[in-house]
Each structure stands twice: as structure tokens, then as C-alpha cells.
Amino acid sequence: MNAITPIDKGASVALGAPIDVTIENVQKAFGDTPALHGVSLDVKAGELVALLGPSGSGKTTLLRILAGLDAPTAGRVLFGGDDALGLSVQDRNVGFVFQHYALFRHMTVFQNIAFGLTVRPRGERPPKAEIRKRVLHLLDLVQLTGLDKRYPSQLSGGQRQRVALARALAIEPRVLLLDEPFGALDAQVRKDLRRWLREIHDQTGHTTFFVTHDQEEALELADRVVVMSKGRIEQVGTPDEIYDAPASPFVFEFIGESSFLPVTVVDGAVQLDGRPLDLSGLGAPSGTATLGFRPHDVSIVEDGSPAITGTIVTERRHGGARRLELEVGTDKHRVEIDMPVDHSRLAGNQIAFRPHRWRIFPR
């Protein structure tokens, strides 16, 4: 049983100092189906970490294990250096927010937020006035002042999710866990809530994990991003590291837009169909490799210097640029590149380009 901290008279939200979370070789299998193959991760106190991956990557399973809603098959989870797996969900003191809010629909907003405090054993329960003070403070924090008497059915999706967050914060959790918190909301609300969540986090400073399959959300919101695929961690890093130095073709493809070409690395230089491209192999060993680049990281080559030549298949408008789909090389590999909208029309449908930023993944 963890100690219950005395209620601070200023009705502040965060509880003491935030804690570190250590995940050591956590494995999980549902029957014969493995969901997590030995995941390890160190998260510093107060960090906002995104678990990013496609569905089935194990990110929600990991979150549920942290909360105590699922038990791992093997491995350890430490909260501030103490074993967390030995604690029941109730005693783990985590705030959990579900994608579909999971509000108690027969309770008012006030009762929802106060729930975690009112179920405490009599001796640890704050007095009524204190609960009221804290709930109203939380309502201010989530910008729902004055809606305490409403029922969840009378709120919009974004408001419901904010109630769910306030409810999770009310118990002064040691760790905050958000499972696709904005997944059910429409694009504009999502953007607002994203910024708002970041602000709340800066104010309250909880160690926070949030699950998302939206890379934009992860990159914008998180201090560090954990990219997961098929029950494994592919890469952990800051948004810059993840975007600029993806560790695998999977990460490269999953984060941002990408094009790939099969190439060969010969003596530290890249060749396509046996012709040199004047691109460095970036230290990759000789042999077959995959060249990856972003569609917007290319320059059109018109002076006949070494370049990738392709036949234009389709052409469409893409934001501030013109997006071309090309067939490249003898295997007619398809890649996408961006061309400035004001670029002069090309003679014929052949085009030559060279990426100015690229990655090489040995195969």
C-alpha cells in the first residue's frame, strides 16, 4: 500500500516529485500469440513519452501492463525504483485515460472527477469541502469551469475527454497513462487538445505515457518517442532523432513521408542498376541496401550529372508542391518526389533528381 500524501491546502494537482519508470524485458503473450517480445525502456521523472506504432504493435498492451490492467508474462516494471507489478491496479496509483473516455454516465461531471477521492477508505478520504475545492480547481485546469453539474451526455467529445483527464489527475497519480486520448475526436479539437495537454503537462509535471498511432501527434507532443512494431521497440529518441535519423526502414516509412529504392553500395558509394549516383553510402558496408529519402528532400537535376532518372506516372498537387510519382530503373520501382509548383514544365515525361538528404539501410 503506497502512502497517501496529505492534501495540500493550496489544492495543487501534482503529487510530490514525479517518479522514474523503468521497464525491464517485459514480455506478454495472449495464449500462444506473443504481444510483446522483451521490451525495455527507461523513462525519466516528468517525461512525456509517446508510444507510437501501427495497430497490433503492442503499444496499448504495454500501457495496460504499466497500469496493472494486464499482467506481463515476464519482466519487471519499476516505479521510482520500487517494483510496481506486485501492486494491484487500485494500489498502483496511476491515472488512466481511455480513448472513448469511459466516463460514468450516471454521474455528474463533479461526481466523475471526485470518484477517485470518494472511494478512498474513510480514514484517507479528504473532507467534503476539500474534495469540492480540489474538483473545482481541476475543472479550472481543464477549462471546464461551471460545467460541474452537467452529465457526460450533455458534453462534447473534447469536453468529455477533458473530464476524463481531470478525473485521472484527481487521485494525484504517480504516472499518467493515456490510451489514444484524442483518437475519437475530430481534427480541429484534436489539435487544440494536443496543445492543451502539453500545457497541462508542463504545469503538473507527471511522468506521462501516451499511446498513439498518429506520428504527427507523437512528434509534436512528446519529449521522447518510442516507435513500436510487432511487439518490439524499433527506436527510442527525441522527435528530431526519430525524424532525422530513423534507425530502420520501418521507422523511416512510419514517420513522415518516404520513398525507397533498392540500391547497391560499392566501396562506400551508392549505385543504382550498376550506375553510380554520386551519393555517399553513409558508412554502410558494400552489398545490397535500401535507399530511403523524403519526397521533399530532393533536387531536380537538369545538367546531366549523375542522378536517378524516372518516368512520370502521375502528377498531383500536394500542399505547396507538386507531387510526382515516378517509375525508376529496370524494375520500374515506384517512388514519390516533390517538385516546386513554379518549376518549368518538363519536356517529355522523363525527369532526373537526386536526394539531398537520404538514409542507407543495409539489407
Binding site: 491496479v89 487500485q90 481511455f98 469511459a102 454516465r105 470518484f115 472511494v119 452529465y151 485521472a168
Partner: protein, 282 residues
């Protein structure tokens, strides 16, 4: 006023055929329910007000009505508790024979009620399998009010189970999980989170079981013993009046039952619509 409403509904609705659907519904309801009930009221009035008051204040009538409504209420209450437990087990647990048990629940619907009454009487009579064990203890089930209640529990069982089951299946597990992360133990979660979600369905099941029990005849008359003032239910009294060719007597008791049942069901319905308006759908 009504005509303009109907016309405007017809004009603006994307679902066509409102007029036709309403017409069919009203005709059908009239033929099946309203006209027979109106006939009942008309027939009960045929004896005049004095006759109506005489029969409705007759101690035997009052005893029968009281018996019918109290036993039905108790039986529906028992079904409320055990029906909930049954539904819970069927929805929340996987065990061998679950599908079979699920099918067995509906048997009281299918069985002719007289068969049920005879079977229960055989079991609970002082010389029956169960009755023989209870008789030395001085507990008498058949030919007593307890017997009536048992028969009414039997025929009312499916209602609560079948009303609660789908709601329980739809109940979002995440709501219970979130309650646990907030520190609520299992008992608190059930009491404060699960039960409030089930109340409307439980009330529906209760109302159906109660209404069915009030009107039940076949199974009760075998087990009740049917002694006037003690174990004579109102539906039986109606049949007795009919056999005595006292049609106004029979219809008067029927009208009293109808009014009482209607009031009970109306009250339950009002409670439900109040809770629906309050909580809405999330």
C-alpha cells in the same frame, strides 16, 4: 394541430410511410388490445355502479386481489435478485454448458403453465421429493402462499435474465477498469458503477415479471390449494365468477386488476424515462 404535425413530419422526414405506419399500428392495437379492453370496461359497467361497488368491496375480492399483487411482487423481487445473478454468470464467465444453461432459461416461456404447476406441486407437496424433506420441519410449500410465490418465480424467471443480459453484454469493461485505476475496489465498482447502469434493465425485467405473475393462472391453481380468503388468486376468482354466470362480477375484478397493473407499470415506466432523460447515452 395534430393534423399539421403529422403533415409536417411526413414532409420533412427521410423515413417515408409515417401515415401508413401509424394507421396500421393504431388499427392493430385497437383490434388486439383497445377494443377488447373497452368491451371489458363496458361489460363491467353493465351491472350499474352499485353492483360494481358491491363486488369491488367484497372481502373475498379484496383478499384475492391483495394475494395476487403481494405474491406477484415478492416473486418479481426474488426474480430481480436471482435473475441478475444468472445473467451476470451467463455474460461474465466462460464455463462448459454455458450455452445449454442459456437455453434452459427460456423453458418457462415454452412450457404450458399447467404442466409447470403440476410438476411443482408434485415436488413440493408434503409427500413430494422436496416437500417430504420440508414437512417434518413444519415447512409447507404446496397449498400455501409460498407455493404460489414459487410458481410465480418459475414463470417470471426469464424476464429479468433476458432484460439484463444484453445490457450487461454491452456494458463497457473500460468503465470498470477506470474505476479500478481510480482506487475503487470490486465492491465499490459494482455498487457505484455497474449497478446504476443496470437499473433501467432491471426495472424493465421486474415490471415484466410482475405483470406476467399478476395475470398468471395455469401454474398457480395447481399448487395454491385455492381456499377462499387464503390462497385464492384474483384470476381464479374471475374464473369462478364466470362459472357462476356472474359476468359483471368477473369483469369488475378484471377491471380492478387492470387498473392496478396499469398504475404499477406506468410508475415503472416513468422512473425509467426519468433516468433515461437524466443520463442519456454516452
Amino acid at each position: 394541430m395534430a393534423a399539421t404535425t403529422i403533415a409536417s413530419v411526413r414532409k420533412s422526414s427521410v423515413i417515408p410511410g409515417f401515415g401508413l405506419a401509424l394507421g396500421v399500428t393504431l388499427t392493430y392495437l385497437s383490434l388486439i388490445v383497445l377494443i377488447p379492453l373497452a368491451g371489458l370496461f363496458w361489460r363491467s359497467a353493465s351491472g350499474g355502479l352499485d353492483e360494481f361497488i358491491r363486488i369491488s368491496t367484497d372481502p373475498r375480492t379484496l383478499a384475492a386481489l391483495r394475494l395476487s399483487f403481494t405474491t406477484s411482487f415478492v416473486a418479481a423481487l426474488v426474480n430481480l435478485v436471482f435473475g441478475l445473478i444468472l445473467a451476470w454468470i451467463l455474460v461474465r464467465y466462460e464455463f462448459p454448458g454455458r450455452r445449454l444453461l442459456d437455453a434452459v432459461i427460456d423453458l418457462p416461456f415454452a412450457l404450458p403453465t399447467a404442466v409447470a404447476g403440476i410438476a411443482l406441486t408434485t415436488l413440493y407437496a408434503p409427500n413430494g421429493w422436496i416437500g417430504a424433506w420440508l414437512a417434518p420441519l413444519g415447512i409447507r410449500i404446496a397449498y400455501s402462499q409460498t407455493g404460489i410465490i414459487i410458481a410465480l418465480i418459475f414463470i417470471g424467471l426469464p424476464f429479468v435474465v433476458r432484460s439484463v443480459q444484453p445490457v450487461l453484454e454491452d456494458l463497457n469493461r473500460e468503465v470498470e477498469e477506470v474505476a479500478a485505476t481510480l482506487g475503487a475496489n470490486r465492491r465499490q465498482t459494482v455498487r457505484r458503477v455497474v449497478m446504476p447502469a443496470l437499473w433501467p434493465a432491471l426495472l424493465t425485467g421486474f415490471a415484466l415479471a410482475f405483470a406476467r405473475a399478476v395475470g398468471e393462472y395455469g401454474s398457480v391453481i395447481f399448487i395454491a390449494g385455492n381456499s377462499p380468503y387464503k390462497t385464492e388468486i384474483a384470476p381464479l376468482l374471475i374464473v369462478i365468477k364466470l362459472e357462476e354466470f356472474s359476468y359483471s362480477g368477473a369483469t369488475t375484478i378484471a377491471v380492478l386488476m387492470l387498473i392496478a397493473s396499469f398504475l404499477v407499470l406506468l410508475a415503472i415506466n416513468l422512473i425509467q424515462s426519468w433516468s433515461r432523460r437524466r443520463y442519456g447515452d454516452v
